[in-house]
Amino acid sequence: MKFIDEYRDAEGVQRYAQALKHITTKSWTLMEICGGQTHAIVKFGIDELLPPGVTMVHGPGCPVCVTPLELIEKAIEIASVPDVVFCSFGDMLRVPGISRDLLAVKAAGGDVRIVYSPLDALKLAKDNPEREVVFFAVGFETTAPANAMSVFQASRQGVRNFSLLVSHVLVPPAMEAILSSPENRVQGFLAAGHVCAVMGYTEYEPIASKYRVPVVVTGFEPLDIMQGIYMCVRQLETGTAEVENQYSRSVRREGNVPARNLIREVFRVVPRKWRGVGEIPQSGLGLQEKYAAFDAEARFGVADHTADEPAECMSGLVLQGIRKPYECPAFGVRCTPEHPLGATMVSSEGACAAYYHYRRRTL
């Protein structure tokens, strides 16, 4: 496919690997933010092409992985209500709650459906006015315009049986949380290209200068990632800390202005809990007051529910780049994609799932 195949050119990747070796004189630890990048790195073996000193650690950019247990519990409770059609992206169905997951709710007779787009859930609501249709609105900034549009359209068209269980998270506050941690070892970031396609990259400029870290907005194909790593290491080697844009074919500095405007119309910035990390101030999105009628937490009375994370899962440390998945004693033994202890093993973008699928035999 155009704009994919040409960015998987093995010879180009090798040349970037050589160029990187040429400029690397010290050890550097970089973090890729996005789970999609984590999977590309492990799947294509990009980490194995890097000079010995250059280490990639995997960031918190998998929304399934960072959705806290209490939101999974809220989802399970809402999905169990008779007459509710609970719609979600597929990954969320197998994330373990305290005693069961959303698939178990479905198996017990709940109407839980996998949809491709929040607009599919909105259509279900229009087609079934006697049912309550709830969409599990998880995601980073990339997904926020789609979820915002579903609420905006529902509001304009007077669709009253539609609501969102919102669990939106934002990248820049998570980066700051990682950089402020005393255990931090990240020296440079590959920022998530698709988040930046929506938001642009001006938010990263103060982070780069405050913490003296290079940030390279990076795409998702092997050539993109190799170039992103090269640009980041080149900055580190020359003592610069700026925001650069590797993914210029899709990312503009100001992002997607109409999308940002609709996000601002529908959502406001709120504190959010991140699974395994805890609450990060100003790190998520919730519905604006004027769209409060579309808030599933209020509609189903689950807003006050809380739940503590299971003790054995170290996904919080994995999500902050402090531990690699295989350093967990449960990895591949008591925790597998079939029987996950935590979300990083469930999601197709989770770091633990990536290592389980592509690296288990070589560990």
Binding site: M1, I4, G12, P63, T142, A197, L223, N256, A259, L262
Partner: protein
């Protein structure tokens, strides 16, 4: 989850900007996609699609930058090699 796939716009419909949509072709598979966030995109343009929404128009000239950067790196390293000989 932030997976986004490039596709080519085949047709555009909808007079209301909020409901602007169209058919997008992904290597042979066509899907109806919301185009409200890419008001500048025309039939024949490539857009980046995430959960049923085009979130960016792909810039064909910028798309060559990755290869151009690589070409310049190649020239640079050849220069370095020749100067060190």
């Amino acid at each position: 989850m932030c997976l986004a796939v490039p596709g080519k716009i085949i047709s555009i419909e909808g007079a209301d900007p909020i409901f602007r949509c169209g058919k997008v072709n992904f290597g042979g598979i066509q899907k109806q996609i919301n185009l409200a966030y890419v008001p500048e995109a025309k039939v024949g343009d490539y857009v980046l699609v995430h959960v049923g929404f085009a979130i960016s128009t792909i810039d064909e000239a910028e798309a060559q930058e990755v290869f151009e950067y690589l070409r310049q790196l190649g020239e640079l390293s050849e220069l370095e090699e020749s100067s060190s000989q």
